[in-house]
């Protein structure tokens, strides 16, 4: 059942021009960043090689690429997630799912997996660009793997929050902006908090992604993202059930 709903979401996303536009714009910007970083690396190659412990091409090009992709997805996910429940409630199509013999959990997970699959396509494009570096030199596959895993966990967290906010309102625009605001706040939290021992700092998404970006796979960070996604998915299920009870 989850698969059926996920597949339908995936198809619907590709049927809408919004998804294609987002895909195209992000790809264009990322390609630009990729080429820019590459030419920077090439131009500065003589100087880089004089350093005692010179950074590799992967560190300079790929890490920057994924870091940039994270920020772009922070803006794109709210736009993609807004339709999941807000639009269904606005068009009153949610009734179809609610009257079908599927549980609320299956509906929520189906939609989450559907969106995540679409985001994985985007991730795949990033990955292909990075892998193309292998044509001209040796690259650090471990760093690419860490970045990919980090980005996947990160967008999973984005998508879960977006899904939850989308279930709160009938207006897709409100859902999109509220999600964007919430994500941005969580992203820049570490620059807003002065005291490094503040527990609030622990919530910063950027701080947890940073490790992956540098090639460090930390279970704390993995747990953080998984818990983050699980929390908001549970809240979404609760929210939908409450709708049924309260009307």
């Amino acid at each position: 059942m989850i698969g059926t709903i996920a597949w339908k979401e995936f198809r619907s996303l590709f049927a809408s021009p919004l998804a294609w536009v987002i895909l195209a714009v992000i790809q264009l910007i990322l390609a630009w960043v990729f080429l820019f970083q590459l030419s920077q690396y090439m131009d500065n190659l003589p100087r880089i090689q004089q350093l005692a412990n010179p950074p590799g091409i992967t560190e300079i090009v790929v890490a920057a690429l994924f870091g940039f992709a994270a920020i772009l997805l922070l803006m794109a996910v709210p736009l993609l997630a807004m339709r999941l429940f807000s639009e269904e409630r606005r068009d009153q199509t949610l009734t179809l799912l609610l009257s079908a013999p599927v549980s609320t959990t299956e509906i929520v997970l189906g939609k989450f997996v559907g969106l995540l699959s679409f985001l994985a396509v985007m991730l795949g494009l990033c990955l292909l660009m990075s892998a193309s570096l292998a044509l001209g030199g040796t690259i650090d596959w471990g760093l690419i793997a860490a970045n990919s895993l980090g980005l996947l966990l990160l967008v999973g967290a984005f998508a879960a929050l977006g899904l939850f906010i989308s279930s709160l309102t009938q207006h897709p625009a409100i859902a999109a902006f509220a999600t964007f605001g919430a994500l941005l706040l969580l992203w820049i939290l570490n620059s807003l908090v002065q005291d490094p021992n503040q527990p609030l700092l622990y919530l910063s998404l950027m701080k947890h992604f940073d490790g992956f970006n540098r090639g460090l796979i930390d279970t704390t960070d993995i747990a953080y993202f998984l818990l983050f996604a699980a929390t908001f998915l549970t809240l979404t299920v609760r929210q939908l059930d409450a709708k049924r009870l309260q009307g």
Binding site: T4, R11, S16, T93, T95, L98, S99, P101
Partner: protein, 321 residues
């Protein structure tokens, strides 16, 4: 159809409150296999709320619902599998084609992969969508979208089909087609239909419940209504009316006429004896006397009377109900 009609859907003391407002109060409902039940009521009477509860879209404040003996609140998945629902706004994904959409609905309702294609073809054929399979739902007219909505509701061969105002917004031809379709469906499934179009109920339903302020204020079989309709008043309009007394005397002389009553709008109400239809004789009398017959029609149908009487907004009726 089975000989002893088994109960496909039953609701017991169904109540739904929104805060302090009561939308549906202590509603009892029973549906037999092969039966079409009409749910009638003015706007805001609780028809849609009732249907939402019957389909598990809304939890009742109290009361119970059983679909083919399965409790909807305790085993929602098993019970929902036996229901097909078309809400007021057909829940269509406009970006999908008719085939894609119906296949998705089939999978949602756990139609086996092997049967899916047949089920979709059959549902399309029943709803007159055979050639529309590859069209995008967004490009279909309202009438066809409504048909896709109905196809979606019957696709998985449910025991109970619940249709919320299925003919709203359609043109007269489409309305007739949809009604024919509903009559056809009743052979296989039980159907609940909500509407505020009275003739629809009379042509399509076997039984009718009239809802007012969340309560059933009238429940009867349509045949019962038809029988009582034979006592009916006629409205007579003539271009050159004689004096009221002469007119009355001539009409009362016709067999089957009990009484006449001149109305404010220039028409005359002719009360007929039960089981008689003196319309032909009245027309003849009008011709013979050169009145210039302009109108001879049955007065409001019986159901309309019942409906108007039961759902009038004045407080006395409400209190009495």
């Amino acid at each position: 159809m089975t000989q002893t009609p088994d109960i496909t859907l039953s609701a017991h003391r169904l109540t739904r409150r929104y805060g302090t407002a009561v939308a549906v109060a202590e509603l009892d409902l029973e549906l037999r296999r092969g039966e079409v039940l009409g749910l009638l009521g003015p706007n805001g009477a609780g028809k849609s709320t009732t249907m939402q509860m019957l389909t598990g879209n809304l939890a009742p404040s109290s009361g119970s619902i059983a679909v083919c003996g399965i409790d909807l609140l305790e085993h929602p998945k098993r019970a929902k599998a036996k229901i097909g629902y078309l809400p007021e706004t057909p829940p269509l994904y406009r970006e999908l084609t008719v085939d894609e959409f119906l296949a998705f609905c089939g999978r949602l309702h756990k139609v086996a992969r092997a049967d899916l294609k047949n089920a979709v073809t059959e549902a399309k054929a029943r709803c007159g969508l055979a050639d529309m399979g590859r069209r995008l739902i967004a490009h279909l007219s309202k009438g066809y979208q409504q048909r896709v909505g109905i196809a979606q509701a019957i696709l998985h061969k449910p025991d109970v089909v619940i249709l919320d105002e299925p003919t709203v917004g359609l043109d007269p031809n489409q309305i007739r087609e949809i009604r024919t379709l509903i009559r056809e469906l009743s052979g296989k499934y039980s159907v609940i239909l909500s509407t505020h179009i009275l003739p629809e109920v009379e042509t399509v339903c076997d039984r009718v419940h009239i809802l007012h302020h969340g309560k059933i204020v009238f429940a009867d079989r349509i045949e019962g209504l038809r029988r009582s309709r034979q006592v009916e008043n006629l409205l007579l309009g003539v271009a050159r009316p004689p004096a009221a007394e002469t007119l009355g005397a001539v009409l009362r002389a016709i067999s089957g006429v009990q009484d006449t009553q001149p109305l404010d709008n220039g028409l005359t109400r002719v009360r007929c004896a039960p089981g008689c239809s003196p319309a032909e004789a009245i027309a003849q009398a009008a011709v013979e006397n050169h009145w210039g017959l302009t109108q001879l029609s049955p007065e409001r149908t019986r159901l309309e009377d019942v409906f108007a009487e039961l759902t009038r907004q004045d407080t006395n009726t409400v209190a009495a109900a």
